[in-house]
């Protein structure tokens, strides 16, 4: 693979990482949600429309999409948060399915089957790393905060969290808002990199590979999804040489192996702490 190809691949890895953080933001509060794909679709097509048809500058489109994503996150939360975990996951998958149908049928707005163009102005390293950095910074700051501790508590044991005065629904609502903002940003960047978006750009495939990236990297620290996304974007490119078009065999295999043998992913703070703890006792003995 030549340098230009690597450049493109890594930029896509950056966008995938923002999508992965969007999934992580919900997962942090104990919600398995594929809604980020839906958020991405809505924001990407909105971005295409406001920049090319309405004539707003691309940066305004990005800001609008991020804000709109947050709002969509709130709406989605109100719609699905009453459901129990299995149903909730299903409802977000249903949202992704419905998203594609909407894209297909709102032709004036989305271009229908043919898809639509999007300006490539934001498809640069600067915007990619800027948005990724912003998302990572927010999550890192929240980690030890009141919200961060509550989110982890709700995820690990919602009943105990409740007995500490934490309302799981409101913590998860915040998770959905973060997820919506990140998903909105990722959708716009994806559109700007591809410069063309269609009904299949934001569909189950994106959702499942992004989820796979989160699981691989680790869903218990914000660094995990980023590393997972980079590995998951770069690996197929590396494997394309030896395996040809069947590189996804490794993707699938990796996913099964990871969830069975490394269920907390590559970046696992708990394992680190365990090791560190053991080291300490060894010293004190």
């Amino acid at each position: 693979m030549n340098l230009a190809a690597w450049n493109t691949t890594l930029q896509f890895a950056g966008v995938s990482a923002i999508f992965a953080l969007s999934i992580y933001a919900s997962l942090w509060t104990g919600v398995l949600s594929l809604a980020p794909v839906f958020f991405g679709a809505v924001s990407a097509f909105t971005f295409g429309w406001v920049t090319l048809t309405v004539g707003l500058p691309p940066v305004a489109g990005l800001v609008l999409a991020a804000a709109g994503g947050g709002l969509l996150g709130v709406l989605t939360a109100f719609l699905v948060l009453r459901l129990e975990s299995h149903y909730l996951a299903m409802a977000t998958i249903a949202l992704v399915l419905i998203g594609r149908v909407l894209v297909l049928n709102m032709e004036d707005f989305t271009g229908g089957v043919a898809g639509t163009l999007a300006p490539g102005d934001l498809g640069t390293w600067l915007w990619c790393l800027g948005c990724l950095g912003l998302a990572a910074y927010v999550l890192a700051r929240l980690r030890g905060s009141r919200f961060g501790l509550a989110a982890s508590a709700v995820r690990e044991d919602p009943a105990v969290a409740q007995s500490l005065g934490i309302n799981p629904r409101s913590v998860q609502l915040v998770g959905f808002v973060l997820s919506g903002v990140f998903g909105g940003m990722a959708g716009v960047l994806q559109a700007s990199f591809l410069q063309f978006i269609g009904p299949d750009t934001f569909y189950t495939h994106l959702g499942f590979t992004t989820l796979a990236a989160v699981v691989l990297g680790g869903a218990f620290h914000w660094l995990g999804p980023i590393i997972g996304a980079v590995v998951f974007t770069a690996l197929p490119e590396l494997l394309r040489g030896p395996l040809g078009e069947f590189d996804s065999i490794v993707t699938g295999l990796l996913l099964v192996v990871i969830i069975i043998y490394l269920p907390r992913g590559l970046v696992d703070l708990r394992r680190l702490r365990l090791l560190r703890g053991r080291g300490k006792t060894a010293v004190s003995e």
Binding site: F147, A150, G165
Partner: protein
């Protein structure tokens, strides 16, 4: 003296089985109150209804005069009720310090935005919470370092972390479900002393406890339950005067002891 908890006519049925049948309970404010009875008597079910994990089928629960039955657990927690668990429930992956700090959730005011921008209020609050968590760790007698994974601590220390986590919420009522299970006599006694200190700070404590010596030494009053109903109310000594209490409770105490010995052997 007014009551911290008042329960009238509490009923809970599981699939036709009456786990709690018409229970009344009055816990005076600022007391250490024991909930006794053989296994399966319905003690934990009562505790679960007070903290809101279970909704009573019938009956009234008042905490400091306010009706709480039917409220979700987090609303009851905000009325000043905290608790620990019979089967320890710590958050996997969290350090001791994080676990205790999580308990302070209700006492913190910082916003999402403040946390992201790391405002001065946020920094001050974090420092306060950390200091408070460390103080609580010391008060309950946790010897492990604050950065250790809570789930790797000794059994007794895990129970103490649960108590510290509950206390971080600054409750007015603390419910303890077998706080000394798995502890040796010296450790149990330490817990008893801690209860006295907390009572001195104005807390009301309700505990389910099998260790009779501890109950005798530290509980102001007890309620003895059997098969979901109240057998006796009063001081331990008075309750033990009643023949049906002796029959129900001491008949089974050998069981409780045997189970406890087994548990210890398995753990050791």
């Amino acid at each position: 003296m007014s009551n911290a908890i008042e329960i009238e006519g509490l009923v809970k049925t599981f699939g036709g089985l009456r786990a709690v049948a018409d229970v009344d309970l009055r816990v005076p404010q600022g007391s250490i109150y024991g909930l006794l009875g053989p296994n399966g008597a319905g003690k934990t079910t009562v505790l679960n209804m007070i903290s809101g994990f279970l909704t009573p089928d019938q009956g009234v629960i008042r905490v400091h005069g306010k009706e709480t039955h039917g409220l979700p657990p987090h609303r009851i927690a905000r009325e000043g009720v905290s608790r620990t668990y019979q089967n320890i429930r710590l958050f996997p992956g969290m350090t001791v310090l994080e676990t205790v700090a999580t308990g302070a959730y209700q006492r913190r005011r910082s916003s999402i935005l403040g946390a992201v921008l790391l405002s001065r209020a946020e920094r001050r609050e974090r420092a306060e919470v950390t200091a408070k968590a460390r103080a609580l760790m010391e008060q309950v007698g946790i010897t492990a370092p604050p950065g250790a994974l809570a789930e790797t601590l000794s059994y007794g220390d895990q129970r103490r972390v649960e108590i510290a986590r509950a206390l971080a919420a600054e409750p007015r009522v603390l419910l303890l479900d077998e706080p000394t299970a798995g502890m040796n006599d010296a450790e149990s006694h330490q817990v008893g002393e801690l209860l006295l200190t907390l009572r001195g700070q104005g807390l009301t404590l309700v505990l389910i406890e099998h260790n009779m010596r501890l109950v005798e030494e530290f509980c102001d009053q007890v309620t003895v339950m059997n098969s979901g109903a109240v057998l006796a109310v009063g001081t331990l000594a008075a309750c033990l005067e009643q023949p049906d209490v002796r029959e129900a409770y001491f008949g089974k105490r050998s069981d409780a002891r045997r189970i406890e010995t087994l548990r210890r052997a398995r753990r050791g």
